[in-house]
């Protein structure tokens, strides 16, 4: 088997060299397809992380529009904290809220002149564990008599989620289309190298080579095309994404782009493996079709 493997590799490289131009075209196509695939994956992952971080900032705000004592507020805070899913509660008294408001806008407006008394309510800022339980917690909070109003930006989260789903579905179809196109190009590239070696193949079969033996060098050639395309797209995407990360982190620091090396490596690995698979499958289809049409 070892001597066979060596034979297959030598044959594959020989054929690769012989049709160098077509091979480079195929590698280029695989590179572009996988690059688009990788960009799409990164897009989905990043949107996910943006949605996640936006959602995690989604607090409930519960307003109390009555004058309550600090003790009452403290007791309410403790009760609210017992609602399942609630992670953290901050109490901002109306005085505190008014002070913050004046700190922020007091320089632009003469507030004391226009406002005689504090219009702001007491506020409980409630953090929940996951965004999906927001509506449930909001309902429970609003059941308390002291609470006048509960607000949260549920709609925004829902919209972000449906956008993410749309991108996932659209992107998946796009990726399948690109993969098919790539497969066709690999099939054609290998077809040309198979046709160029028809004499070799017919002689191999005449001297008693099995079909699978004839196929191996071409399959290896396909794998070679796929691996090289995968590596090229990995290198290009890695460079571009690092550049994007660098630019974004300095220009838009609040945008939480994904920079997790393990997840990135996983994406890159997927790209290279996908390229390898495409190359192998393309070569297999191509050489099988030609071998079956013969004899």
């Amino acid at each position: 088997m070892f001597s066979n493997l060596e034979f297959f590799l030598v044959e594959a490289l020989r054929s690769f060299r012989r049709s160098a131009l077509m091979s480079f075209v195929a590698i280029g196509t695989i590179t572009v397809s996988l690059f688009v695939f990788g960009v799409f994956l990164l897009l989905v992952v990043n949107l996910g992380s943006i949605v996640g971080s936006v959602s995690s900032k989604m607090d409930l705000a519960a307003y109390v529009n009555k004058d309550i004592s600090l003790e009452e507020a403290g007791a309410l805070q403790l009760t609210l904290a017992k609602i399942p899913g609630v992670e953290k509660i901050d109490f901002i008294s109306r005085t505190e809220a008014w002070r913050q408001f004046k700190d922020e806008f007091g320089s632009q407006l003469d507030l004391d002149a226009t406002m005689t008394n504090n219009p702001l309510p007491h506020t409980f800022n409630i953090k929940v564990r996951t965004p999906d339980i927001l509506p449930k917690v909001a309902k429970e909070v609003s059941n308390f008599q002291l609470i006048d109003e509960v607000r949260y930006s549920g709609k925004f989260v829902d919209q972000m989620k449906s956008l993410l789903d749309a991108i996932r579905i659209g992107g998946a179809s796009l990726v399948i289309l690109i993969a098919l196109a790539t497969l066709l190009i690999v099939v054609n590239t290998i077809r040309l190298t198979v046709l160029a070696r028809e004499t070799d193949i017919s002689i191999m079969k005449l001297v008693g080579a099995t079909d699978i033996f004839v196929k191996w060098p071409f399959i290896i050639e396909g794998i070679l095309l796929g691996v090289l395309g995968g590596l090229a797209s990995f290198i290009i995407l890695n460079f571009s994404y690092s550049a994007v990360l660098y630019k974004v982190s300095s220009a838009l620091p609040f945008l939480p782009l994904m920079g997790d090396q393990r997840l990135l490596s996983l994406i890159y690995l997927t790209m290279v493996l996908l390229g390898t698979g495409l190359g192998m499958l393309g070569a297999y289809i191509s050489v099988s079709r030609i071998l079956n049409s013969e004899v």
Binding site: S3, K205, L206, V207, G208, A209, T210, D211, F213
Partner: protein, 226 residues
């Protein structure tokens, strides 16, 4: 060793190439198949190594009806049949050594065995000195010797030669035929299709004459014509 029973072959365009052929060739025989072009000599050979399938009849090689052989088994049949071609069918970008080794490589033989057997085959055909030459550096006779070396490197019990001297001058043709006879003496059944009247007449071996797809003569110690 080889038996054709009521074999007919016609192509889809309706042309009958072989008609009701019955032929028996025993172990280690040396047989000339003669006849004009288009008589069906090449087709008959192709039936034996399953390059063609008969329209009807049985083609028995070494007790197996190759007409009904599963296509997965064809490679193993071919490892037992060496084939020599008029146009040599050598791979142009490979040396003589590589061309001969090719037939062993496809069987998955280990490298040391390949080297030993290729050297033996090349020695037998007198091509040891040209092992590293490429086919276009060889004369016609040398190319045919390389082709024969490839055909016998597996030690097949049967050797088929389809017009092996078709492209060669008379002296070289003689050398090739004598080489084939030498191989026959090493316990190999040899079938040679040829137009070469001089050689057939001088060799005085069994002659099977084909004409328009039929066997018109089967004669021991025969000549090209009756």
């Amino acid at each position: 060793m080889i038996e054709l029973i009521n074999v007919s072959k016609s192509y889809s365009n309706g042309i009958d190439v072989l008609l009701n052929i019955n032929l028996f060739v025993g172990k280690e025989e040396f047989v000339f198949i003669v006849g004009p072009s288009g008589a069906g000599k090449t087709t008959m050979m192709k039936l034996l190594y399953r390059e063609e399938v008969p329209t009807s009849g049985k083609v028995i090689v070494d007790r197996v009806n190759v007409a009904e052989l599963d296509s997965k088994q064809v490679p193993y049949l071919r490892r037992n049949i060496g084939v020599v071609f008029q146009d040599y069918k050598l791979l142009p970008k490979r040396t003589v050594f590589e061309n001969v080794a090719f037939a062993l490589r496809v069987t998955g033989a280990p490298r040391s065995t390949i080297r030993r057997k290729v050297m033996q085959a090349l020695e037998l055909v007198g091509m040891l000195g040209r092992a590293n030459s490429f086919p276009d550096e060889l004369s016609g006779g040398e190319k045919q010797r390389a082709c024969i070396a490839r055909a016998i490197v597996n030690n097949p019990p049967i050797l088929l030669a389809d017009e092996p001297t078709g492209n060669l001058d008379p002296t070289t043709s003689w050398d090739i035929i004598q080489l084939l006879e030498k191989i026959n003496k090493r316990n190999t059944t040899v079938l040679i299709s040829t137009h070469n009247k001089g050689i057939v007449d001088d060799m005085k071996r069994r002659v099977v004459a084909l004409e328009s797809g039929r066997i018109v003569r089967d004669q021991l110690l025969g000549g090209y014509n009756v």
